[in-house]
């Protein structure tokens, strides 16, 4: 009784990377431990993959 498309499902891989930044509500930006703005560090963004198009998101399917 399983729909056809689910024959091709695989376990969702949750993003296990702990992001090295935290939201600062005063700045309305995520900042690194040393106070730098995370979004300005493209090498970091590439490394943590949080700006990447993914699939299997629990809350969003607009990738």
């Amino acid at each position: 009784m399983q729909p056809f498309a689910l024959n091709y499902a695989r376990p969702a891989v949750e993003l296990a990377v702990a992001t090295p930044y935290a939201y600062d509500s005063g700045l309305q930006l995520n900042v690194l431990g040393d106070g730098r703005i995370a979004a300005c560090d493209h090498a970091l963004l590439r490394e943590v993959g949080t700006t990447t198009s993914t699939a299997g998101s629990k809350t969003h399917f607009d990738d």
Binding site: Y8, A9, P11, G26, T50, T54, T59, D63
Partner: protein
């Protein structure tokens, strides 16, 4: 005039735009509807034929009438983090927030009505056809026989979710996957199934449209790529994304798509075949762009910030009940 951004705190992609807005001195209020009624508050009154509304978040207070644009980026479920969340409270919070915002004159990226419509993949395929974009042969069906007959006509097929959503109980992902020619299609009867002719692609194309501006990136398919891995989101890291020019005919068709869908932003996915044709796969009305900018250096965040910063066009004067001109 303020830019309102509806998104989660951890949305670092939105940060890329906030940085540019800050740099140009445009006031920004960022909030997550999930934080109603904790860190986010709202109030609006309709008195003497006028509306006055305010939003508050993170110590900032903004007049709804003072919004120039609303960017619906990655908002959480309204009141989703309330002390006692419920479906009823979510509906109340959603109606209050989005109901008030819908009444303002701000420009939307994207308007909720346009966004809701644009999420329907079958609708996307038809609109793409109407706009002149090449669409791979596709069938969406619950008839196993229709699926079998389609597979006879187009033996090299992929299957993908109709909605783009993924099952959560338990959490699973349903990537675009190849379907073997001798597949048993009887399970098609248990759920609408989208089958599509596989494009033997030599590259993936991600075209990010911001207003009238189109920024395209291309990721070449490696010669040694696994032919079974057709979904770039699941494939092993390969070639980098690189900027690419948008063919004139494609650009015209994409702009027509945006006009007819009333989208201010869209992330289009294409498969480029051996002839260089860009085959339309889908348009994500809130698709990610950060990874493209990080790899290509294309100024997507800045372009979004510029779009959000534009002043709202002059509204035609309205008449009040006494026939006087009001603003």
């Amino acid at each position: 005039m303020t830019v309102l951004i509806l998104t989660s705190e951890e949305d670092v992609t939105a940060d890329m735009v906030v940085v540019h807005l800050n740099g140009s001195g445009v006031p920004v209020v960022r909030l997550d509807p999930a934080d109603l009624t904790g860190g986010v508050s709202l109030s609006g009154e309709y008195v003497h034929g006028r509306f006055r509304g305010h939003l508050s978040a993170g110590g900032r207070l903004v007049s709804i009438g003072g919004l120039r644009s609303v960017w619906v980026r990655r908002p959480g479920t309204p009141a989703g983090r309330a002390p006692q969340p419920s479906a009823w409270l979510t509906e109340e919070a959603s109606q209050a927030l989005y109901g008030m915002l819908r009444g303002c004159d701000a420009r939307w990226m994207n308007h909720p009505d346009a966004a809701r419509q644009a999420r329907h993949k079958p609708w996307q395929l038809r609109l793409a056809q109407r706009c002149g974009l090449p669409v791979p042969a596709t069938v969406i069906t619950t008839f196993p026989r229709a699926a079998r007959e389609f597979a006879e006509r187009f033996p090299d097929l992929v299957v993908k979710p109709v909605s783009g959503a993924h099952p959560q109980d338990p959490p699973r992902a349903v990537p675009t996957s190849r379907v073997a020619p001798d597949t048993d299609f009887s399970a098609v009867a248990f759920g609408p199934t989208l089958l599509q002719r596989r494009i033997a692609k030599r590259a993936d194309i991600r075209l990010t449209a911001v207003g009238e501006r189109l920024l395209a990136a291309r990721k070449a398919t490696r010669p040694d790529a696994d032919p079974e891995e057709v979904d770039v989101r699941f494939a092993a890291p390969g070639s980098p994304w690189e900027p690419v020019e948008v063919p004139a005919r494609t650009a015209d068709a994409v702009r027509a798509y945006l006009r007819r869908s009333e989208l201010a932003y869209g992330a289009f996915d294409f498969a480029e075949d051996a002839d260089g044709t860009w085959w339309f796969l889908e348009c994500n009305q809130s698709g990610q762009f950060g990874f493209v900018e990080v790899e290509t250096g294309q100024p997507i965040a800045r372009t979004i910030a510029e779009w959000l910063s534009r002043p709202i066009p002059d509204e035609p004067a309205e008449l009040d009940e006494a026939g006087s001109t009001v603003r």
